[in-house]
């Protein structure tokens, strides 16, 4: 609750939500967004202008940060158990037809994959605790994106985002290699077996479903954080696009 009335929480996609969010901000109502495929740097600029005009607050929060595995890994880094993070490795494979996938036909618009993987970029930056100074990326067929980040002080991250699996479940794995320890959250380890003749099926045990509760539980912190962090993520996504286009490594500040 704010002095302007209840904030608007856009946690699930809805029609014409960009215009809706801009209208609410312009009307003085605080708006909290989760990442969206349309939420480019330019779109964020437009919303920020609307918020300024309406005297409202705008925040972007990433539900991925609220997942139990991500929170655990972050806690282990913050506790010092893992030491200084050296390498964050993240895989996300989606089925071609997944609603989260930017395009199902391999013909996604330029920049679609980097924006689609922005939540994972954010997780990597969050775990490393810094913005990268080097970004290299390779995209194949509009379905596979590899992002390679270098951080000041020698840290690094590898993100593998693909919307290329056959219909069905996806796959995720996240690991952090620290100077004194490591943590691994891998669907490969979090699968149960189902026997119905022939080879058994591996059933993924899903950890999702907590995000909205966690996010809604700390709105004040979310609005305090605002959009500065997400601007950093989008700057990295912009460097990803630039690297793909040039075939060279880029620095986010140069894009």
């Amino acid at each position: 609750m704010t002095a302007r009335g209840d904030p608007v929480l856009l946690l699930e996609p809805r029609p014409a939500e960009a215009a809706f969010a801009a209208a609410r901000l312009a009307a003085g109502q605080d708006v909290l967004l989760t990442p969206r495929p349309w939420l480019s740097a330019a779109a964020l600029d437009r919303l920020e202008r609307a918020a300024r005009a309406g005297g409202a607050r705008l925040a972007v929060v990433n539900p991925e940060r609220a997942r139990p595995s991500r929170r655990l890994l972050r806690q282990q880094i913050e506790s010092g158990h893992l030491g200084r993070p050296g390498l964050v490795r993240l895989h996300r494979w989606l089925p071609v037809a997944s609603p989260e996938a930017p395009a199902g036909d391999g013909a996604g618009a330029a920049g679609a994959l980097p924006l689609a993987c922005a939540p994972d970029l954010d997780v990597a930056l969050w775990l490393m605790g810094a913005l990268p100074d080097v970004v290299y990326a390779v995209e194949r067929d509009g379905q596979t994106l590899l992002v390679h980040l270098g951080f000041p002080g020698g840290g690094m991250a590898l993100l593998d985002y693909a919307a290329a699996l056959p219909p069905g479940d996806g796959y995720e794995a996240l690991s952090v290699i620290g100077a004194t320890g490591a943590a691994y959250a891998d669907d490969h380890h979090n699968s149960q077996l189902l026997f119905r003749g022939g080879h058994p099926a591996a059933l993924r045990v899903d950890e999702r479903g907590w995000e909205a509760e966690v996010l809604a539980g700390d709105l004040a912190a979310a609005f305090d954080a605002g959009i500065a962090g997400w601007r950093g993520v989008l700057a990295v996504a912009g460097a990803v696009c630039a690297s793909i286009a040039s075939g060279r490594a880029c620095a986010p500040e140069d894009v």
């Binding site: 494979w93 390679h148 320890g181 691994y184 490969h188 490594a249």
Partner: protein, 368 residues
């Protein structure tokens, strides 16, 4: 030399068991697993251990120990051993800086060569090896881990078309081992040790990169053409002192359009419940697979268990037997080995490009 397995005399009712290939072991600097792995196969037997007279004293001691274990002579004259002991195969596993020299001399003497990794640290040496092996027409095998059950299974699934054409391959290759005091501890006397022993400082990519890069090559069926890499000295003071990496991440672009990534590091004993996370992820045009190199395995936990003892133990992983068998088949048939000289040189060139990329901050083309 003959490439045909011996057969029984005419009229005796078929082939008799082939006579084992006699092997000269040339230098055992650190890894004796190559010797033991080959010698355990019925097609090979150790006939002699040999080295140059000016090999490091510690190497002479290890050579003598291996010779004693196999009940064979230790000869401080490599050419004499290659010439006079009726050997067909050289097992080469001295200090890395002597790998190519001994392999080239063995190939020049007409011997087939099994060499420990890494191939070399110098391009001209890699070229020299390929030329020598191909000129002599002998078989060459770079020791590798491609026959571990998890890797073999992945390869078989791909070959059977289970995931379609591989589009992306991702390898984690972490050894959960320590290499001396942690980073930040007092500097070691590593530089002096190196100067005294002749050991060449090498980072994790140079030492172990052969293994995951051989996985990528085998699974993708394609060569690497471009590399982007980041490296760091993140764990061990010895690596800091030597200025060589103990952690690296590599993006690989392959011929034919596939891509791959590699995460490699000597991440410390505390960072895994066993030897280290070594896994393969293959995304294909019709599916994907995720495989652990360590499986099958069994967990062993008990009160008072030493910290460094693996909790998960690998099982049924006699990959050495399969590598040696593959080498014997290649000798018999005159065909290719699982990782021949030219392929090994390509992997060397990939590591070379990765290290150059880490220095320059830009992607680097792999020199064919």
């Amino acid at each position: 030399m003959s490439g045909v397995p011996p057969t029984g005399p005419a009229g005796t009712g078929g082939p008799r068991p082939p006579v084992p290939f006699r092997c000269a072991v040339l230098g055992v600097a650190k890894h004796d697993y190559v010797v033991h792995g080959v010698a355990a196969h019925p097609r090979f037997e150790v006939a002699v251990v040999a080295d140059d007279p000016d090999a490091p004293p510690g190497t002479h001691l290890r050579n003598e120990r291996v010779a004693s274990a196999y009940g064979v002579p230790y000869v401080r004259d490599v050419e004499h051993a290659l010439r006079d002991f009726d050997v067909q195969v050289a097992i080469v596993c001295p200090e890395v800086g002597r790998h190519v020299d001994l392999s080239v001399r063995a190939a020049g003497a007409g011997k087939h060569v099994i060499q420990d990794k890494p191939l070399t640290t110098r391009r001209e040496e890699a070229d020299r090896l390929v030329a020598a092996v191909e000129r002599a027409g002998v078989r060459f095998l770079m020791w590798n881990r491609n026959e571990f059950p998890g890797v073999r299974h992945a390869r078989e699934q791909i070959a059977a078309g289970a995931v379609g054409r591989p589009r992306a391959i991702h390898v984690d290759f972490y050894f959960a081992k320590d290499a001396g005091p942690p980073r930040g501890a007092a500097s070691s006397d590593a530089a002096a040790v190196v100067a005294a022993s002749g050991w060449e400082p090498m980072g994790e990519l140079t030492i172990e990169g052969i293994y995951p890069l051989a996985y990528v090559r085998a699974l993708a069926g394609a060569e690497v053409r471009r590399v982007f890499a980041r490296t760091a000295t993140h764990f061990h003071q010895r690596n800091v002192d030597h200025g060589v990496e103990d952690l690296a991440s590599v993006t690989l672009e392959l011929e034919g359009g596939a891509v791959a990534t590699l995460a490699i590091g000597r991440i410390g004993e505390a960072s895994h419940h066993s030897d280290g996370e070594i896994s393969l992820r293959v995304l294909g045009s019709a599916g994907a697979l995720v495989a652990a190199e360590a499986r099958p395995e069994a967990g062993v936990y008990y009160r008072g268990q030493p910290p460094g003892e693996a909790r998960q133990r690998r099982l049924a992983n006699r990959y050495e037997h399969l590598l040696a068998g593959d080498f014997a088949r290649a000798i018999d048939s005159g065909g290719q080995t699982a990782l021949d000289a030219r392929a090994s040189r390509r992997i060397f060139a990939t590591v070379e490009a990765a290290l150059e990329s880490a220095r320059s901050g830009q992607p680097v083309d792999v020199l064919a």
